[in-house]
């Protein structure tokens, strides 16, 4: 659930993956004519020190999911290997079809196809898939991964395969049942789109005999067309062809390149410089990010036209307010009205940052998105409305003097200690000061940012946020961000008088199996949060990528907002 870059080069942003993204985006990303050829080595230039998690049950970062799924971790179902909207359709991978649902959405069955093998040549069996799913439950070892298996599967008190007693294991085997080649999932709640959930690599097979627990993260067993040759944190990850993989058994992957080299720990400006120069091996390289300061160089010059893309990724940026500390709507309104969103957008690269968000659900979630009615007085061009903000602040002084005083004394804003955020915080301080609100910036080392703010003992007033749905349903957005049970609720809104009604409505929306009616419910809940300003909507984000002149098949894969790494090819 983490994203590498939001608002320029920031270290991380919590965020999941997935969903049809490219609403309108640009179109220059198709590969240069002709069918892709086999052979060659693709390089991926990365500022990260490693892949957050290669262990399929722990992988939850958009880019990393796209990388692992397309190269090494086959799943029961997958998103289509296609550009844009077509890429958000679900298709069969290990299974022969996209699943059979029965029992009013509570039972899902998948039948495995023939010929799938691990890198040691052994066949992928139903038991391997079930074992993989069971690992998610061992939350003391399998950390950071998505927990949908735990919340959906009809099994209680199961501690994962490492510690389970025979009884507990039997209970799990009942919930995830193997008969011959057919795996059946028995769920405790109806899930209409469970076959989207199974696109996550946490539903990938793991051979029990080769499971090394915590160490599996460094050398997972491959079921796809590539396997790990070497992996050195801070240096590189080298993938080579898995000669046991059989093209005929895999309905989606093509595996054009002979090997893929992930280069870690590069300075962001060095990556840009190398990509701009396009010399030597960098002609075979791709980069997932471009620094804001280099955007004009790359996008104003037609020479880059065939090897750059600017598109809407699945992410939304926003600002969490601690509703516990700021328990006064007037103060929250004043904060939002006074904020110079135009300056923040410019600091991130202007139009390349994205569009002003009118909520937390992106338009790409067509069923769940409706244009929200924004706060009265909020300028649509993003500039601050100081008079309206001052009026809200004056109202707050009468209606809730304590909170107004707290805002005047100083609101603590935890931000990642990076140059880009240093500018963003300067913009916050300067714009809020105009209505007498003091912002106290508290820099946190970028790599410790999320652990710090997610710690309940951290007493912040304001923290940043960024999120993308796990699949095309706002059930992976609104409850995750604003329900107390959600995995990424930083708004501390449990004591808000309106919370109980909100929570009841979320429960009702989750249980609604009529997708159109459920969408209406998410739209209303999105508006509900926008009206209460538990968090301030920021930007429907865009991303920019660049690739070397000899790389083909460089389309942006909608659901993950990244390259489809396993499909990249080399043009001679």
């Amino acid at each position: 659930m983490k994203k590498k870059s939001i608002f320029g080069a920031i270290g991380l942003g919590l965020v999941a993956s997935v969903i049809a993204a490219s609403c309108g985006g640009s179109s220059s990303s198709s590969s240069s004519g002709g069918a892709p050829k086999k052979g060659g080595t693709v390089h991926i230039l990365s500022m990260g020190e490693q892949i957050a998690h290669l262990d399929p049950q722990r992988n939850y970062t958009g880019t990393d999911l796209a990388f692992a799924a397309s190269t090494m971790q086959r799943t029961l179902t997958s998103y289509k290997y296609a550009e844009g909207d077509a890429g958000s359709e679900v298709t069969a991978d290990l299974a022969t079809d996209t699943g059979t649902v029965s029992n009013e959405g509570k039972t899902w069955a998948f039948t495995l196809g023939d010929g799938g093998t691990f890198e040691d040549g052994s066949a992928i069996t139903c038991a391997d898939v079930a074992y993989g799913v069971s690992r998610t439950f061992a939350t003391d070892i399998i950390t950071d991964g998505p927990t949908y298996a735990i919340s959906y599967l009809d099994v209680a008190d199961y501690p994962g395969p490492y510690k389970a007693t025979a009884d507990q294991q039997a209970a799990f085997d009942k919930a995830v049942n193997c008969v011959d080649k057919t795996i059946t999932f028995n769920l405790k709640v109806p899930v209409a789109d469970f076959n989207y959930t199974t696109t996550l690599t946490s539903f990938s097979p793991v051979p029990k005999a080769l499971d090394t627990g915590e160490k599996y993260d460094m050398k997972p067993v491959s079921s796809g067309p590539y396997k790990i040759e070497s992996y050195e944190i801070g240096k590189s990850l080298v993938l080579v062809r898995n000669d046991k993989w059989d093209q005929a058994s895999d309905p989606i992957r093509h595996a054009y390149a002979d090997s893929i080299v992930y280069e870690f720990g590069l300075d962001p400006s060095v990556i840009d410089e190398r990509m701009i120069k396009d010399a030597g091996d960098d002609q075979f390289a791709v980069s997932e990010s471009i620094q804001p300061e280099n955007l004009p160089t790359i996008f104003d010059d037609e020479a880059f036209k065939s090897r750059r893309v600017d598109y809407y990724d699945p992410f939304v940026s926003y600002t969490n307010l601690s509703v516990k500390n700021l328990s006064c709507l007037d103060v929250r309104k004043a904060l939002y009205l006074a904020l110079d969103r135009d300056a923040l957008r410019k600091a991130g690269g202007g139009p390349y940052t994205g569009d002003y968000a009118d909520g937390f659900i992106k338009p790409a979630l067509a069923l769940d998105y409706a244009k929200s009615k924004m706060l009265d007085g909020l300028n649509s061009d993003g500039t601050a409305n100081v008079e309206a903000a001052q009026a809200a602040m004056d109202a707050a002084k009468a209606s809730c003097p304590d909170v107004a005083k707290h805002a005047a004394d100083g609101l603590v804003y935890y931000y990642p200690d990076t140059p880009v955020w240093a500018k963003a915080i300067a913009i916050w301080i300067e714009s809020e000061a105009k209505v007498g609100i003091t912002i106290k910036g508290s820099p946190v080392e970028a790599s410790k940012y999320w652990p710090t703010v997610m710690n309940p003992d951290t007493n912040y007033d304001i923290v940043r946020g960024g999120w993308a749905p796990d699949w095309a349903n706002a059930s992976t957005v609104i409850p995750e961000l604003f329900a107390t049970s959600g995995g990424f609720n930083l708004t501390r809104n449990a004591d808000d008088p309106d919370y109980a009604a909100f929570d009841a409505a979320v429960t009702a929306a989750k249980a609604d199996l009529d997708r159109a009616s459920q969408g209406k419910k998410w739209q209303a809940l999105n508006q509900y949060v926008v009206d209460r300003l538990w968090a301030l909507p920021g930007t429907f984000l865009k991303s920019q990528s660049i690739w070397g002149s000899k790389v083909g098949n460089t389309y942006q894969w909608g659901p993950y907002g990244s390259f489809n790494f396993g499909e990249l090819s080399i043009n001679s």
Binding site: D340, K423, A426, S431
Partner: protein, 332 residues
């Protein structure tokens, strides 16, 4: 006209004027030599100018109508870059604006000078004080005390100081905050000054100890001692006045080092916290824009180079003035 002891000149009034041939003190001799070094005098002027603008930064900024924190979106184009050539240098922004925010670079430079000079002067004062005290004590007392201080010096020199400074920034800043140093920039600056002093005193102490060792055997010290002078008299009245020359040289050469170190730490993101201005922060930020806005890189860079160069020139000139043997041709 009868002869007199003094030489006599006629100044045109018919009244004889007498002027004594007066012996000059070493200090006067040094000053005369220094005064002839026009290059050094110019450098002194530069330093004085920096100190002046740093001290009066708020007044200068309000006179020019600029501020180090005010955002100016009008000065930026749609992509957040300065909307004009050379970082949008214009009458309203004499040195242009910062990309991304539109803050005035001149104002940030002036406020940044305060940080650089403050760190430089305080760290120099502390290192000099500690170094002189320990150096004199070691050289004068000799024996065990000298051995102990000598080992401390060796130990401090053995530390990979810069790595330690970087590694300890966050934990130590938090520690300072927990014992009551105001949070944020005051704590960071206190930390920087403290660590610079912690590792900087050894150079002063070594030189002072060496000088003291040779001075304490000289006749005037012997004479003072034979007259019954106590230790404190000998140290303060006899030794210290003769140590100033080397100390001044070290000070003038180490101060620019501290200014650069502060900039380096800020560059690495361990210095001043936003939205405060510092040259290192500006340099660190501007490096990213060398392609899109090279002017932004040059301005803080040149400011830093000129200041450090001025201090080094003055340091060299002081050494030359105090030590006539090291005669060197002046360029000017």
């Amino acid at each position: 006209m009868t002869s007199t002891i003094d030489s006599v000149r006629d100044d045109g009034t018919g009244v004889p004027v007498t002027a004594s041939i007066v012996g000059k003190s070493p200090r006067e001799l040094a000053w005369n030599r220094f005064r002839k070094d026009k290059f050094a005098l110019f450098a002194v002027g530069v330093i004085a100018f920096y100190i002046f603008v740093a001290l009066f930064a708020p007044i200068i900024c309000s006179a020019l109508g600029i501020s180090p924190t005010r955002l100016d979106g009008q000065a930026l184009n749609d992509y957040g870059l300065p909307d004009g050539p050379f970082g949008n240098i214009s009458t309203s922004h004499l040195l242009g604006v910062e990309p991304g925010t539109g803050r005035d670079i001149l104002a940030r430079l002036l406020y940044g000078a305060r940080v650089s000079l403050m760190v430089g002067f305080i760290a120099t004062f502390l290192t000099t004080t500690i170094g002189v005290v320990l150096g004199v004590v070691a050289g004068y007392k000799r024996g065990k005390i000298d051995a102990v201080i000598g080992r401390m010096t060796d130990l401090t020199l053995a530390f990979p100081s810069f790595l330690l400074i970087i590694a300890l920034t966050r934990p130590f800043t938090q520690r300072l905050e927990s014992i009551g140093v105001p949070e944020g920039n005051p704590a960071r600056l206190t930390y920087i000054v403290l660590v610079l002093s912690l590792f900087g005193w050894v150079y002063v102490a070594r030189v002072v100890r060496g000088q003291t060792l040779s001075l304490r055997e000289r006749e005037f010290v012997e004479a003072a001692r034979s007259c019954g002078a106590g230790n404190s008299h000998i140290i303060f009245k006899e030794l210290l006045p003769n140590l100033w020359a080397p100390v001044i040289v070290i000070v003038s050469l180490s101060l620019p080092g501290y200014v650069s170190t502060e900039a380096t730490l800020s560059f690495l993101g361990l210095g001043m916290i936003a939205p405060a201005a510092s040259w290192g922060v500006m340099l660190g930020d501007s490096v990213k824009y060398y392609r899109a806005d090279p002017t932004y890189l040059f301005i803080p860079g040149i400011a830093l180079i000129v200041l450090v160069l001025a201090f080094n020139i003055v340091g060299d000139a002081v050494r030359d003035a105090l030590d006539p043997k090291g005669d060197r041709q002046n360029l000017l």
